[in-house]
Amino acid sequence: MKPRNRGLIVAVMLLFAASVGIQAVRDRDRVPFEPPGGMLWIQSGTAMKRMALGFDTLVADLYWIRAVVYYGGQRLRDRSERSYELLYPMLDLVTTLDPRFKVAYRFGAIFLTEGYPDGPGRPDQAIALLENGLRRDGERWEYMHDIGFIYYWWLRDYTKAAEWFERGGRAPGGPPWLAPLAATTLAQGGDRQSSRTMWRQLFENADSDWIRSSAERRLLQLDAMDALDQLNVIAARYAAREGRVAQSWPALVQGERLRGIPLDPAGVPYVINPVTGRVGLAEDSPLWPLPEEPQALRPVPEPPS
């Protein structure tokens, strides 16, 4: 007769339950050590490529997930504790292992440029990454557009931006709207309409949800900026008529016969500064803070005839 295992099975189940309990008690007081700023042991893509033994793209995927989690994790931290120093090495590693990983280049273009505390504020690194993309992944118009965009939005170098837009327009598969964008940038760089066109193109051609939502947020911010311009005209009109600034919404709503307290595109009410009477975005709005708008080019004075 075979021995019965019922007792053993019950013991295993009880011990398993005990191990779960011990682990739960231990985790309650244990804060795992995390090196400040995180660690990236191997930063050489070439070395990692050798170690991957033909599974380069899979290792690239793992580092891509790590980069996304790293960036997302830093964004969730307290503003003063955020550090993005590993973002560029991670993305560089990903793109060395898988040179055709288009979204990694474009992700870098968006998130490496974001200023602190939402990103490292390194447009130079974003441009370096995209230029690597052009070397490794061929003459893709998307990378040229993104470089032009960084020069336009972050570096305010409209001449270089126009050069890259024009190059993108000439690249294989380059869309027809890039050449006119280059001309507009050169003529009136910094205007809000051009910014809107570029963010819309990014939104429509995004390879990932993250890039799409980032572009969507920027578009909503531009809408908010348009609305604020109009509201501040109304607030100024009120101040001129009443001889004092509107200190609260009820005063302005009543005085200017508005339909109610205006909401920003995210659905949060705008706020009035009671001292200056200027209307602005609420700090608890998901659209806060608004970007510093690229400065529009001053019209070139006509030469004297």
Binding site: G54, D61, V103, D209
Partner: protein
């Protein structure tokens, strides 16, 4: 021919009785399914990562099957002394080796077919549940038939690895055979570096030696077209055909080598 088929059939049946391939297939299926969960962390790159992970799982688990069954094909028979009974039958030693090889090759093809079907099932599920806007950004369709070409080349690579394992198993212990086979597999993926040795080394004899080793060792890198397929980059048919021809030639060399060793082996 019939004798070879009978030995091959016996190897296949034994591998079916042996539960190792089953557990590997189950594990591979699990990995492929898990990749769907992992893909939630990928900022919209789930299809790429799913394909990378699926193809890598097929390659890795196929490699484990090829190595760990391949090294036991002959040595187990010798250890158990069952080789005497087999060879007492009207069966030549070369037929015995070829039958063993084709039996394992059949096992591999069946296992990898199951994994490929599971892989396509996951891809189909993701394809059906993904938003059309996101699909537009995919460089290749989810059910891209070219994935099959990548799997065919994985099978060809594994058949070559099986031949290597069989060759080593005709004269060494299972442990040593496993180490040697894995060593050759690793070297086969570094092989391309040997070809460019003269670019980094000025000593001509050493460069020539490196070039000779390059041609002598199996070159496994061309069997890996996974990145091209996942990114939707076309792979020339001539490259695939030449790689398959290379595999056929190299496998024949190894089988002839294994037969040569086994024919001269003394069993006491």
């Amino acid at each position: 021919m019939r004798s070879i088929a009978l030995v091959a059939q016996a190897v296949f049946k034994e591998s079916v009785r042996d539960r190792v391939p089953y557990s590997m297939v189950a594990f591979a299926v699990l990995i492929i399914a898990a990749s769907y969960l992992i893909s939630q962390l990928t900022a919209g790159q789930d299809m790429k990562i799913l394909k990378d992970l699926g193809l890598a799982a097929i390659a890795v688990f196929g490699l484990l099957i090829a190595v760990f069954i391949g090294i036991n094909l002959v040595s187990k028979e010798v250890e158990r002394r069952s080789v005497f009974a087999v060879l007492a039958k009207p069966l030549s030693r070369s037929q015995f080796i070829l039958g063993k090889y084709f039996g394992l090759a059949l096992t591999l093809v069946v296992n990898l077919s199951v994994m490929t079907l599971a892989f396509y099932a996951v891809l189909l599920y993701v394809d059906l549940t993904t938003d059309a806007l996101l699909k537009a950004a995919w460089p290749a369709p989810a059910l891209d038939p070219r994935l099959v070409i990548a799997v065919v080349l994985i099978v060809a690579e594994l058949m070559l690895v099986t031949a290597i394992a069989l060759f080593f198993s005709t004269f060494s212990s299972p442990l040593l055979s496993a180490l040697l086979t894995l060593g050759v597999w690793v070297a086969g993926h570094f092989n391309a570096d040997l070809r460019n040795f003269e670019a980094v080394l000025d000593v001509r004899p050493v460069a020539l030696l490196a070039r000779a080793v390059y041609y002598l060792l199996p070159n496994l890198a061309p069997f890996n077209i996974r990145a091209e397929v996942v990114h939707g980059v076309p792979v020339p048919a001539s490259q695939v055909a030449l790689t398959l021809a290379y595999a056929a030639v190299y496998i024949t060399i190894l089988l002839l080598g294994a037969i040569a060793v086994f024919r001269r082996r003394d069993f006491k």
